[in-house]
Amino acid sequence: MSEAQEHELDKFSRKVIQKAGLETPPEYLKQNIMHAIHAGHTYSPIKGLLTPKSKIAIGVLVIGFCILIGFLPQTKEVWEISGALSEFTGLMERISNQIPKTFFYGILAFGLLISIQIGYLKQRINRN
């Protein structure tokens, strides 16, 4: 088919489809839809599994934990900065003496996995 013929066919189809127009739905259709929405279908916005604030909090905790475990020197001087902190670090030390470090890393990895999965699952739910 030549370009000119194709153009003619295009013009013809446009005219025909516009001549046919659209079907007119009955007036009660809109009323039915709005009634159904107003009646039993009260709108309840779906909330995310994690709020942005809690995501930030979790992120800060995880990063802080990583720094505490991995990067700070394990000397007593550093840990005993203030009373509250030294209490916490003392507890950490006691725990780390009882529980091997690999177990800590395992918990950390597990936490990260759950955090990632929550985001991933939420995306999947949203898409469906």
């Binding site: 066919l9 189809s13 446009r14 025909v16 046919a20 839809i33 709108y43």
Partner: protein, 190 residues
């Protein structure tokens, strides 16, 4: 992408103003109903499909991110629901014929003849459109009536842009042949 006006209405709905949804019903019910009725060829069933589609859209509004047009999203639901209904119809073998002519009140007597001719032409065109397969009917209507892009149509019908192009070309050709044959037949009868 949703336009700013639609975005405003969407915000209102999400804020709890359910009445604002009537804007979307008013704007899109005609095309949605046309898509459904041309596929299922039954007005009552088309009404149900459109109603369900709108309600579905309403409930899924929080998940609508506005990356595509609201209409694309709605028409997609209508199109696929209508196809499902058509499959069920075929399974139950209870095909119903319908008269697609709408009811019009004729107020001016002098225009009766004009209107009759107009309605006759409309009827012929509509029956020719019905001869196309559901996908072609939807593609040609959305392309020429709603002036949607090939990409948007591809999204609605869930096929590639190149397949839309091919189907659009076939639909145009088939429509032309059907109407040409009709005119030739009418001429022979005279």
């Amino acid at each position: 992408m949703t336009n700013p006006l639609e975005h405003t209405y969407l915000k209102r709905i999400l804020g709890g103003d359910t009445e604002a949804f009537s804007y979307f019903v008013d704007t899109y019910q005609h095309m949605a109903f046309t898509i459904a009725v041309r596929i299922v060829q039954n007005k009552e069933e088309a009404e149900d499909i459109v109603q369900e589609a709108f309600i579905k859209c309403f409930h899924r509004l929080p998940l609508f991110k506005g990356e595509s047009k609201f209409s694309t999203w709605l028409y997609r639901i209508v199109y696929h629901s209508a196809l499902d209904a058509l499959r069920q119809q075929k399974r139950s073998l209870s095909t119903q014929t319908m008269d697609l002519q709408g009811f019009k009140v004729v107020s001016d007597v002098s225009s009766v003849l004009d209107q009759m001719m107009d309605e006759q032409t409309n009827k012929i065109i509509k029956s020719a459109i019905q001869e196309l397969n559901p996908q072609q009917q939807t593609i040609i209507t959305l392309y020429y009536y709603d002036c949607l892009s090939l990409k948007e149509i591809a999204e609605i019908v869930a096929i590639s842009v190149s397949t839309v192009k091919v189907n659009l070309f076939r639909a145009r050709k088939r429509l032309y042949e059907l109407l040409k044959n009709h005119v030739e037949f009418e001429n022979r009868m005279r």
